[in-house]
């Protein structure tokens, strides 16, 4: 590694610039922004139609249904995560920069979470109400999603980075990342279920918080390493 040149921006400027750019690009295409959310709502609508509209049945499966729909909506957004940057050469410039790739990756993932995970989290109580989720479970569900979706986005980011150069990435990406999503799913659902049966949901939520801290610290390194390989494979 060579020392950064004097003309290159500081790490903080780099981080802020990357975040601002990614958010601007995301808001530039509102339809792409809305698609995962619409998908989330549509999938949830299918469950009362396909399984049962009985309030009792619905309230029992509500946490699981909401979480699985959130998982799939996250997955849907992942394929495009690095694709455009790769196609127009931005990704190569990111990789070639003298500064560590870690910070731009964190900014990229934060921007992606702000336009996918965060709206899902905010939308969840409404859909929970439609699925007859117990009122006391709504806050744990939201907290679980707020802590769990960053982990999903980060783990998914590894898969997206590894498959960025491939033509047939989509299905492979699902196979790579869905097994890794299992702990988040279990913890998130059990927090909401504990709360809806009147118990304290703190345990799984604290585990999710621990997982999120670990993932935010460690996973961007894996994404950065995967991007370096992904750039070569194309």
């Amino acid at each position: 590694m060579t020392a950064p040149l004097a003309s290159e921006p500081s790490l903080w400027v780099l981080f802020r610039g990357q975040l601002r750019r990614d958010l601007k690009l995301a808001f530039g295409q509102p339809s792409e922004l809305a698609n995962p959310l619409a998908f989330f709502v549509v999938v949830i609508t299918l469950f009362p139609l396909g399984v049962s509209p009985e309030p009792g049945v619905l309230s029992g499966m509500a946490p699981g249904v909401l979480w699985i729909a959130a998982l799939l909506a996250t997955l849907l957004g992942l394929e495009a995560l690095f694709r455009r940057d790769r196609d127009d050469g931005t990704l190569e410039q990111m990789v070639l920069r003298a500064q560590p790739l870690y910070l731009p990756v964190v900014a990229r993932m934060l921007a992606h979470w702000m336009v996918t995970g965060l709206p899902l989290t905010l939308l969840a109580p409404l859909l929970g109400g439609m699925l007859n989720l117990a009122p006391e479970a709504r806050l744990p569900l939201m907290l679980g999603l707020a802590l769990g979706t960053p982990v999903l986005v980060l783990l998914g980011g590894v898969g997206a980075a590894l498959t960025v150069g491939l033509r047939t990435g989509g299905v492979l990406l699902a196979l790579l990342v869905l097994p890794l999503f299992v702990p988040v799913l279990i913890l998130g659902v059990s927090a909401a279920e504990l709360a809806s049966s009147g118990l304290d949901p703190a345990g799984p939520l604290l585990w999710l918080a621990a997982g999120a801290s670990f993932a935010i610290t460690a996973v961007p390194f894996a994404i950065a390493a995967a991007l370096r390989i992904g750039v070569e494979t194309g």
């Binding site: 898969g159 047939t168 299992v182 702990p183 996973v219 992904g230 494979t233």
Partner: protein
């Protein structure tokens, strides 16, 4: 990591071995004579262990004869997990030292490990019918082994999808390392989710609960399956070495000798 490793005082022999392992040719030439011996020992151990276990060990007081599938199930389940860990270790070696041989071993282990995982699932499912009354239960351990199978399939799919072997190897290495950190987390989360499976049969720290006549054949089979796994990985890696080094001088010379 490489920094620390390089500064440790290793015995000279070990250091030389490590450097030699950088050469696929050395691996090919050294392991060639081992293969028949390992294969024979594996066949002997598995043969004796299986016949003893199936025909001569006493039936279980609770499960009757159905427990005998343990002699296949336990070694397969153990190697399924060990194979993934081996793959992740090879991944670290590949990423840190760029050792080509590690990538070749990793490429070989993935399908073999997946096969053992499938064997563990299939035998477990068959065993479940007489003991639990059903072929499939969403029990914690079954579920985590199923997820392990998905992790194996993901790695195999990724390797197949990337055309350049060097890039494919490093991509699989990253995935294997992320996966191996996740395996205990998956295991504990699934355990927490539900527990129905009986606890582990063998433990290093305590004496086995079975009489020796029942666990001795299991021990033979565990050793035999280990050797079978080793010989499969070695033979597979040798094939991989020839395939990847097919343009080098020593492989073309070898082919010419074989033909003559």
């Amino acid at each position: 990591m490489k920094y620390i490793f390089d500064r440790l005082r290793w015995p000279d022999g070990l250091r030389r071995l490590w450097h030699r392992m950088g050469s696929p040719r050395w691996f090919y030439e050294t392991t060639g004579p081992w293969v028949p011996w390992l294969a024979a020992a594996a066949a002997l151990l598995i043969g004796v262990g299986t016949v003893w276990g199936l025909a001569y060990a006493p039936p279980d007081y609770l499960q009757g004869d159905s427990f005998r599938i343990i002699y296949i199930h336990v070694p397969a389940a153990y190697l399924a997990q060990a194979g993934y860990i081996l793959m992740a270790i090879c991944g670290v070696v590949l990423l840190v030292w760029r050792m080509k041989l590690a990538d070749m071993v990793m490429a070989t282990v993935a399908p073999i490990g997946a096969a053992f995982t499938f064997l563990a699932l299939a035998t477990g499912s068959i065993w479940g019918k007489p003991t639990w009354g059903t072929y499939w239960i969403w029990d914690a351990r079954i579920t985590s082994v199923l997820i392990l199978l998905f992790l194996y399939l993901g790695i195999m799919g990724l390797r197949r999808a990337i055309e350049r072997p060097e890039a494919a190897g490093r991509a699989c290495a990253i995935l294997a390392i992320v996966g191996v950190i996740n395996i205990p987390i998956i295991k504990y989360s699934v355990d927490w989710w539900m527990t129905l499976h009986q606890p582990a049969t063998f433990s290093v720290t305590s004496a086995p609960a079975m009489p020796p006549i029942m666990w001795l054949p299991l021990l033979l089979n565990v050793l035999g399956f280990n050797l079978l796994f080793a010989v499969s990985v070695i033979q597979g890696t040798r094939t991989e070495v020839l395939l990847r080094e097919r343009r080098t001088r020593w492989v073309t010379d070898l082919c010419r000798q074989e033909r003559a």
